[in-house]
Symmetry: C2
Subunit: 320 residues, 2 copies
């Protein structure tokens, strides 16, 4: 049986590396693509010229397909889109989809388009507008999140659309890959586990935080203003709580809360200020235990998933 995600994206393994702002640059993306998965550059708030540079660098570092993640609510979005239309990377994943009209626009350049969705209605609309697949992202993910968990969202989206569903959120091992395939997924997207990849250029202090994190390490901030974001708990996360309290009391605006995060992701990820910066991470950071080359992460996850799937019929005894 073929795998539709591999076929559509022209990759060897249906494993995508989630686009992560200030984290997944040409170095990580090319390493993942060279490992047979799909590396994805996180455009985030990157100036358009810088994004263009990362796309070209990735092309230098790998002959395999790769992607760019664009966040539509980003102020740089229009300029980034121009670069993407000109450079035409093989794949674009879309966060915070505001208008589905962008899908045919990107496809006109031969780009495969994968919206990131957190609800069934959005997935249905994305399919209608020609999306090649959808990435169903559970609330356990890092960064900007929806409310539904991977365990519920994966089967829900799978029965809503006919295009392939790539599950994201909470996946850090082969067992989780087998689990989401059992729920109807045909591919996976991992962010958190790839942060500790050797080729990831994130600051060493961030990697250390990831490797040490336990199951209560993450917290959701800015839920009160309607833009929930999952990060590792630190001084910044605590100050969000204080400001959100003020916001609820009508003593400051939603913009004041939002502004707390300005430049903070870069401060953590690039400069290593893990106290005052924003360390976006998924809940599965608790399961991330060792730094490895990206290709080794992919190979290990595949071997684990296949072993789990092979043993499942004999291990899952449901009647005695």
């Amino acid at each position: 049986m073929p795998n539709r995600v591999c076929d559509i994206l022209d990759i060897d393994h249906p494993i995508l590396q989630g686009g992560m702002t200030w984290v997944s640059d040409a170095s990580l993306a090319s390493a993942v693509s060279n490992g047979g998965g799909l590396g994805i550059i996180g455009a985030g708030a990157m100036p358009a010229a810088l994004l263009q540079g990362e796309i070209r660098k990735t092309r230098d570092l790998t002959g395999r397909p790769f992607g760019v993640n664009l966040i539509m609510i980003n102020p740089e979005f229009e300029r980034q889109l121009e670069v993407v239309m000109a450079e035409a990377p093989p794949v674009v994943t879309l966060g915070a989809v505001q208008s589905t009209a962008i899908i045919p626009e990107l496809k006109s350049r031969g780009i495969k388009v994968l919206p990131v969705v957190a609800a069934a209605a959005i997935a249905r609309r994305a399919e209608q507008y020609g999306a090649d697949a959808v990435i169903a992202e559970g609330t356990e993910s890092g960064g900007h999140i929806g409310e539904t968990t991977t365990m519920v969202l994966t089967p829900l989206i799978s029965r809503t659309v006919d295009i392939p569903v790539i599950a994201a959120g909470g996946i850090a091992s082969g067992g989780a890959v087998a689990a989401v395939f059992a729920l109807g997924a045909e591919g996976v997207q991992l962010g958190t586990r790839f942060v500790v990849a050797e080729e990831c250029t994130v600051h060493a202090a961030v990697k250390e935080k990831f490797l040490k994190a336990g199951d209560r390490a993450t917290v959701v901030t800015a839920r009160s203003i309607g833009y929930p974001v999952r990060t590792i708990k630190n001084k910044l996360a605590t100050s969000y709580s204080a400001w959100e309290k003020k916001y609820m009391a009508g003593e400051c605006t939603a913009m004041d809360v939002e502004n707390l995060g300005l430049g903070k992701l870069r401060e953590a990820m690039c400069e290593g200020n893990v106290r005052d910066g924003s360390i976006m991470a998924g809940q599965c950071v608790a399961l991330v235990e060792k730094a490895q080359p990206a290709a080794e992460i992919i190979a290990e996850i595949i071997a684990e998933a296949e072993a789990v799937a092979r043993d499942l019929p004999s291990r899952m005894v449901l009647s005695r």
Copy 2:
């Protein structure tokens, strides 16, 4: 290969019906046990004499093992515990575990004890105090919840303890059963799906709400006061938001927020006031589609799970 959950609880299928206050009485619990799973009476805030009646009624309706769910922070808890020690139901599941000393106390009466846990540290402590298994409950569950999702919590708890892990939260179909077994679980607990069981005595208006609910149907209230509860969105849930805002502004106490829920679960579940009552439900309410006898739900889930596990090795193609 034997199933440890079946062996420990002396049941045919490792499928537990979650204890649900004002929902899982003798009628539902006995139907689940008669179907080969483990039916569980939700003691909740039930007066001790009423609980005793339900335990005895369950014994009349089934010769199979069944359980009682006790919530330790409940004001009726001490009196309920006396009844449970006297009646000695085969199994007790423990919510909101405040003290692990209760585990050996219950075990001294020959009762199997299964704490409901939402974090690795609590699971480890429960095992040390003699718990027979733990129920790892993800945040997608209905009612009182923790923060970690089933996708992350199941592998985390599975590698933390040696006793069997029963996964709960987000499980409404056989695919999800296969998924949590792939993550290390040896049994499952379902609440939401059993609410629409024919033998469930909950008000018809509640069942209708469950059958119609989509993926944005639930909301978490009272998170601001530290006791998050997942319910179906309605007028009561909206008034929680308003009061929580007041609480954040220092204009009312946490107790004021808590008191909003007083008697409201009973009002919804027993009287059918789905507008002003508290309709506790898990996120997987979106996946619940038909009313069936409890035994049929169990049989259907097992058949689905086995089919999914059987097909997984050929369906999960990770390399081309």
